[in-house]
């Protein structure tokens, strides 16, 4: 069983970002092979460390733990990246790019979806 977790929320606007990553880590711990797809403001979760935006736990710390949990399928939607004026080499993790037109193809590769 594989699960794709789609995250579209900015890192600190709500607790959604942390809760989606928590779900990813737990699914990985249960060997569910989760993948993560970052779209819209969700891409901002992949900005590198260096800022301390709030007293909340730094999302970057959770993001950097993904590899340790064998979550290697990290996808970023190309259009979202462009809309935010970012380049792929500015992101904290090595990611795979997927354009909007290919999203349905990506979705079809997974058995389950959780959309945050």
């Amino acid at each position: 069983m594989s699960c794709l977790i789609t995250v579209s929320q900015s890192p600190y606007g709500s607790r959604s970002a942390k809760e989606s990553l928590d779900a990813a880590l737990v699914l990985a711990a249960f060997e569910q092979n989760p993948g993560l797809l970052f779209i819209d403001d969700g891409v901002l979760q992949l900005l590198p460390k260096g800022q301390q935006p709030s007293p909340h736990k730094h999302i970057g710390k959770i993001i950097s733990a993904l590899e340790m949990y064998d979550i290697e399928e990290l996808w970023v939607e190309t259009e979202s990246l462009q809309e935010l004026g970012l380049q792929v080499d500015q992101l904290s993790q090595p990611v795979k790019l997927v354009c909007r037109q290919q999203l349905s193809e990506l979705w079809s590769k997974y058995d389950q979806h959780l959309v945050f």
Binding site: M1, C3, R15, S16, E19, D22, A23, V26, L27, A29, F30, Q32, Q112, H113, L114, V115, F116
Partner: protein
């Protein structure tokens, strides 16, 4: 975003095409139509003879498990409707423990552990870890998530 999945076109129970479902509710009582969709979808699944192995309340949905919510007399209580459904079908209503504690939903054990003033987890609901979501997602035929 409400999940939508293929539903076998059968209306009687004990049908051979029945599937086991895990329902994830992420929308709170204030997102009325979405919360209601989750409930009604689950009701319909059970009415059609499918199995719901677990309902998992995450994020804002943990507030549905509060026994201290008072709704106006002419409105239906989501909490009560879930309780009724759970009782009728021996449904497991799991509430994310981290989210619950964060939102002030506690059972007597947590109340004692954190020295809180009162416990308010509604009857029929239980506090469980996120692992219960992962376990259910591994075993079910269909995972359907409600809320955004």
């Amino acid at each position: 975003m409400a999940g939508f999945l293929y539903m076998p076109n059968t209306t009687h129970s004990n049908n051979p095409t029945s599937l086991s479902y895990c329902i994830v509710v992420r929308c709170g009582p204030n997102q009325q139509s979405q919360s209601l969709s989750a409930l009604q979808f689950t009701q319909e699944l059970l009415a059609q003879g499918h199995t719901v192995m677990r309902v998992f309340f995450y994020q804002q949905a943990v507030l549905i498990a509060s026994s201290l919510t008072v709704v106006p007399q002419d409105e239906a209580s989501l909490t009560l409707q879930w309780q009724t459904l759970a009782q009728e079908y021996q449904l497991e209503l799991g509430v994310c423990i981290a989210g619950a504690l964060h939102n002030g939903i506690v059972n007597p054990q947590e109340c004692e552990r954190y020295q809180l003033e009162a416990a308010n987890l509604a009857q029929g609901f239980q506090l469980v870890g996120l692992g219960q979501l992962a376990a259910a997602s591994a075993e079910c035929d269909r995972l359907v998530s409600f809320g955004a």
